[in-house]
C-alpha cells in the first residue's frame, strides 16, 4: 500500500511540472503588451520601455523560464504585471473562495445526488426512473452560468432572501456562508445530475451481483439488503467518480464565479487573461494544475484505500 502511495505521489510531480512548463510557454504566446497595459493610455515610450525592463520582458526566454522554476520551488509566484502586488497574496486571498465553492458544490451534489440515484435505481424503468434520468441529463446539459442567472433572477431579486453579489465579508463566517448558498447551489445542482446517474448505474450493477442474491436467499429483508450491501459496494465507484467531478466542477466554477462576482481563482484568471497579466495568469494556471493533480491523487488514494485490490494489482 505504501509503495502504491509513494508511486502515485512521485508520478504526480513530473505531471505537475510538465503542465506548468506548458502554461509558462503558452502564456508568453498571448498577444498584447503588459507594460503598456500597466501604464495606461498616456504614458511615454520611455516609461513603457523602462517598465518592460523591470518586468523582465526583454530577457531571453530561457532566463525567464529558469526564474519561473526557481520561483515555483520557493513558492514565489511572482508579482502582478499590472499592479506589482504579490500574486501569491492574491491567490491566497482568492483560493478560499474557490475552495468553499467547490466543496459546497460537492456536498450539495452528493447530498442530493446519491439519494436520487438510489431511488431511481430501485424504481428502475418506472416513471420515476425516466423522469429522474431526463432530469439528470438536463442538469448535465444546462450551462452552469445560465442556471446561476436563473437562480439570481428568482431568488435574489424576486424574493430578496439571499445576496447575489460577491463573496461576503472575509472575517464574518456567517456572511460568507450566506454568499455561498446561491453559487454552491448552482454548481451543485449541475453535479447532482451526474452523481445521480452514476449512483444509479453503480447501484444497478451491484444489485445484480451474486452476493446480493445470496443475501436475499438467506432471507434478509429487502430494504436491509439494498442499503447495507448494495450502497456499500456502490460507494467504491462513487468515490472515484466524485474526484472526477470535482475536477470538472472547477471548469464550471469559473463561469459561476463570474456570474456571482465571487472573488475566487476563476474571476482572477479571467481578469488576468483580459488584462494580459502574464505572471498572474501563469501562476493561477499553475495553482489550478496543482489543484487538479492533487484531487486526482487524493481520489486515486481514496479509491485504493476503499478497494484494496487496486493497490495490490
Amino acid at each position: 500500500m505504501l509503495r502504491y502511495v509513494a508511486s502515485r505521489i512521485l508520478l504526480a510531480v513530473p505531471v505537475f511540472l510538465g503542465v506548468a512548463t506548458i502554461v509558462f510557454l503558452v502564456v508568453r504566446v498571448i498577444p498584447g503588451d503588459p507594460a503598456v497595459a500597466a501604464l495606461g493610455d498616456y504614458a511615454s515610450k520611455e516609461a513603457v520601455e523602462a517598465l518592460r525592463q523591470r518586468m523582465g520582458l526583454d530577457e531571453p526566454l530561457l532566463v525567464q523560464y529558469t526564474r519561473f522554476l526557481a520561483g515555483l520551488a520557493r513558492g514565489d509566484l511572482g508579482r502582478s504585471m499590472i499592479t506589482g502586488a504579490s500574486v501569491r497574496e492574491q491567490i491566497a486571498h482568492a483560493l478560499p473562495y474557490t475552495l468553499e465553492l467547490t466543496l459546497g458544490a460537492v456536498l450539495v451534489g452528493a447530498l442530493l445526488g446519491i439519494p436520487v440515484g438510489v431511488y431511481t435505481a430501485i424504481r428502475r424503468n418506472r416513471l420515476a426512473d425516466y423522469l429522474g434520468r431526463v432530469f439528470s441529463l438536463a442538469g448535465l446539459s444546462v450551462p452552469a452560468f445560465y442556471l446561476g442567472i436563473l437562480l439570481t433572477l428568482l431568488v435574489a431579486l424576486r424574493l430578496g432572501w439571499l445576496p447575489a453579489v460577491g463573496g461576503g465579508d472575509a472575517a464574518d463566517a456567517g456572511d460568507r456562508l450566506r454568499h455561498l448558498v446561491l453559487p454552491a447551489l448552482t454548481l451543485g445542482l449541475v453535479m447532482t445530475a451526474s452523481v445521480a446517474r452514476l449512483t444509479r448505474s453503480a447501484m444497478l450493477g451491484v444489485l445484480r451481483q451474486d452476493y446480493v442474491r445470496t443475501a436475499r436467499a438467506k432471507g434478509l429483508a429487502e430494504g436491509a439488503v439494498r442499503l447495507r450491501h448494495a450502497l456499500g459496494s456502490a460507494l467504491i465507484p462513487i468515490v472515484s467518480i466524485t474526484g472526477l467531478w470535482a475536477v470538472s466542477l472547477i471548469g464550471d466554477s469559473v463561469t459561476v464565479e463570474v456570474v456571482f462576482a465571487r472573488p475566487g481563482l476563476g474571476k482572477m484568471m479571467v481578469g488576468a487573461i483580459l488584462q494580459r497579466d502574464y505572471t498572474a495568469l501563469q501562476s493561477v494556471m499553475v495553482v489550478y494544475t496543482a489543484f487538479v493533480v492533487g484531487i486526482n491523487l487524493v481520489t486515486d488514494l481514496a479509491y485504493a484505500w476503499v478497494d484494496p485490490r487496486v493497490s495490490r494489482g
Binding site: G32, S80, P96, G160, L235
Partner: protein, 536 residues
C-alpha cells in the same frame, strides 16, 4: 459503515479551513463607511501622476489635493486648495510668474515608516517636478517650459517660458492629473512601485489597505485642513459586472455605484425605493477619427461619404437623451469655451447630416461604388462597444464592411496607440480646448511617428499654426476664435466626426448626501469630500 464517515471526516477540516477568517483588515465603525463600487476588475495605479482610469481618478481625488481645485460638483469653477488664493500672473524677466502662498496647518498623511508631518513648499516643488519628469509621470508633456521653485517654506513660484492665459494655466495646477500634490517624504520612501499601491497625500481620506482585484480601503483623515470628514472612511470596490453592482445597491450592500450610460438602465431604477440616480457632467466626448494616411480614407470625398452615412440620432438612441447629447465639434461647446454649437456648424454646412443617398454618391464618385472593408479593435467597455457596433451596422448600409474585434480596455488603448485602427472612436475628457486640439490634431502628437506621440489618430497636420497661436494668445476672445477656426478646418477636411458626449451615470442609496450639487466633476465620479455623509 466506515467509509462515508471517513469521507465526511476528510471533508470537515478542509471546509473549516476554507471558511476560516482570512485576508485583510476590517475598518472599524462600518456604519460610517461609504461603499463605492466602480467598473473595473482592479486598480491600475494610485500614483496620481499616472492615474488615468475612472476608478483610479476617484481614489486619488479623495487622497490628494492640488494648489487649487475644481469646486466640488462644478468643474467650471476654480477655488483655492493648498494655496490660500487663486494666483494672478506677473511678468518678470520676460517670463510669466505665478506665485502661490501655501495654507498653514496642512498635514501630509502618515504612511509606512514616515509619520505625518506638515506640508511645505518643498513637497509642492518635489511633486510638480515629479509631474514634469517623463520617467515619473504620464502627464509630463503638460509641464514643459515650466520651472518651479520655493523662495520660502510657505511660498511656491511657478515660472513659465511662454505666457499662458489663466484658463490654460489653472488646470495644470488644479487637483487633477499632474497637479495633484504628492508628499515628498513618503514618495521617496515608497519609490515608484510603492506609490502605485500606497498613495500618500494631504486629502480628506487616507489610504489604509488594498486587496487586489477587490477593494481599496480609505479612512478619514482627522487632521484634514478643512475639518474632520463626516464619513469614517470610504471603500472603493472593483466590480466589473453591472448586475452585481446594481444588485449590491438594491440589497443595501453598496452605497454608491458606477452605473452605465444607458437610459433604459436608468429608467429601470426609477421605481426602486431608496435608490437615486445621478446623471451629471463632465461629458466625455466620443469622436470618430479617420486615419488619413490609409487608402481609401486618404480621399476627403470618402471620409465625407462616411460622415454622411452616419446618423448622430442613431448613436444617441443607443445611449438615450439626457445621458448623451450629440456634439458637432471636437471640443464640446456645452462644457468648454472654443466649442462649436449645432447652429454655428450648420450655418457653414459642416454638420454632415445623415444622408445615405449622398454618401453612396460620394463613394461612387471616389471610385468605390461597392464600398470597401476595414478592420478595427474595440474595448469591451459598454461605452465603446456600443458605438463601434453601431458604426459597423451603419456603415454596412453603404457597403463599407467594418470587422470588429473585441479586446479588453487596456489592450485597445495599447493597440490604437500603435496605430492599429484605421478608424478610431475615442471617448475622452480634456480640461480645455488647447489640450483637445493639441493631443488629437497637432502634428507633434501623431501616433507612433509624431515628435511627441499622443492621440492624433488621424495623422493630421493642418492646424498646427492655429493651435500654437491660440495657445500663446492672452486675449480670451481671440483665443476662442482661433480654436473655433481650427475646428472649422478639421470639419472641412472631415478628419474627425464628432459623435456625442456621454454623461456620468451613478446610482446611490437615498441615505447618501454628497455635500454638494452635481453639475460636472472632472474626476468622473460624484466627488466625495469631507462634507459627504451617510444619513442612516
Amino acid at each position: 459503515m466506515r467509509r462515508p464517515i471517513a469521507l465526511v471526516v476528510m471533508l470537515l477540516p478542509a471546509t473549516a479551513l476554507a471558511l476560516g477568517p482570512l485576508a485583510g483588515p476590517r475598518a472599524a465603525g462600518a456604519a460610517g463607511i461609504l461603499k463605492l463600487a466602480q467598473l473595473s476588475s482592479d486598480l491600475q495605479t494610485l500614483d496620481p501622476h499616472f492615474a488615468a482610469t475612472t476608478p483610479d481618478r476617484s481614489v486619488v481625488d479623495m487622497v490628494f489635493n492640488g494648489l487649487i481645485r475644481y469646486k466640488p460638483g462644478d468643474g467650471s469653477v476654480f477655488e483655492p486648495d493648498l494655496a490660500t488664493a487663486l494666483p494672478t500672473a506677473r511678468v518678470a524677466d520676460g517670463k510669466q510668474v505665478w506665485t502661490f502662498q501655501l495654507r498653514k496647518g496642512v498635514m501630509c498623511h502618515g504612511s509606512e515608516g514616515v509619520p505625518t508631518y506638515p506640508l511645505t513648499s518643498e513637497d509642492v516643488v518635489y511633486s510638480l517636478q515629479k509631474a514634469s519628469d517623463k520617467n515619473r509621470s504620464a502627464y509630463a508633456a503638460d509641464y514643459t517650459g515650466m520651472t518651479v521653485d520655493a523662495p520660502d517654506a510657505a511660498t511656491v513660484r511657478v515660472t513659465l517660458d511662454h505666457p499662458l492665459s489663466s484658463g490654460l494655466f489653472y488646470p495644470k495646477v488644479a487637483n487633477y492629473s499632474g497637479g495633484l500634490i504628492v508628499c515628498k517624504k513618503p514618495a521617496e520612501k515608497l519609490g515608484a512601485d510603492g506609490l502605485k499601491t500606497h498613495p500618500a497625500g494631504t486629502g480628506p481620506f487616507m489610504f489604509k489597505s488594498y486587496t487586489p482585484q477587490e477593494r481599496v480601503v480609505l479612512v478619514a483623515n482627522p487632521a484634514y485642513f478643512r475639518g474632520k470628514p463626516q464619513l469614517d472612511g470610504v471603500e472603493i470596490r472593483y466590480m466589473p459586472d453591472l448586475n452585481s453592482r446594481e444588485l449590491g445597491l438594491r440589497n443595501g450592500q453598496l452605497d454608491v455605484i458606477n452605473g452605465t450610460p444607458d437610459k433604459a438602465w436608468v429608467d429601470g431604477l426609477k421605481g426602486v425605493a431608496n435608490v437615486k440616480v445621478d446623471v451629471f457632467g463632465v461629458g466625455e466626448v466620443a469622436t470618430l477619427f479617420f486615419r488619413t494616411t490609409t487608402p481609401p480614407l486618404d480621399k476627403p470625398e470618402v471620409r465625407k461619404a462616411l460622415a454622411h452615412a452616419l446618423d448622430r440620432q442613431e448613436f444617441l438612441a443607443l445611449i438615450g437623451q439626457g445621458i448623451a447629447e450629440p456634439v458637432y465639434s471636437p471640443v464640446p461647446a456645452k462644457f468648454l469655451p472654443g466649442g462649436l454649437g449645432e447652429k454655428e456648424v450648420q450655418a457653414r454646412g459642416l454638420d454632415y447630416p445623415h444622408d445615405l443617398v449622398r454618401a453612396k454618391k460620394l463613394l461612387a464618385d471616389a471610385g468605390l461604388p461597392q464600398g470597401f472593408s476595414l478592420e478595427v479593435v474595440t474595448s469591451e467597455l459598454p461605452g465603446y462597444r456600443v458605438l463601434y457596433e453601431s458604426l459597423q451596422a451603419q456603415l454596412a448600409k453603404v457597403g463599407v464592411k467594418v470587422a470588429v474585434k473585441v479586446v479588453d480596455h487596456a489592450t485597445m488603448h495599447s493597440l490604437i496607440r500603435k496605430d492599429a485602427n484605421p478608424l478610431v472612436i475615442y471617448i475622452a475628457w480634456r480640461p480645455n480646448a488647447d489640450v483637445y486640439l493639441t493631443q488629437f490634431f497637432h502634428s507633434d502628437s501623431i501616433v507612433v511617428s509624431g515628435k511627441k506621440p499622443n492621440v492624433n489618430f488621424a495623422h493630421y497636420d493642418r492646424i498646427d499654426g492655429l493651435v500654437e497661436r491660440a495657445r500663446a494668445e492672452t486675449d480670451q476672445a481671440k483665443q476662442v476664435q482661433a480654436w473655433k477656426d481650427a475646428q472649422l478646418k478639421i470639419l472641412e477636411d472631415m478628419v474627425a466626426y464628432p459623435i456625442q458626449y456621454q454623461n456620468q451615470v451613478y446610482a446611490r442609496s437615498a441615505a447618501v448626501d454628497y455635500g454638494h450639487e452635481l453639475v460636472s466633476v472632472l474626476a468622473l465620479y460624484p466627488g466625495i469630500t469631507e462634507k459627504t455623509r451617510l444619513n442612516r
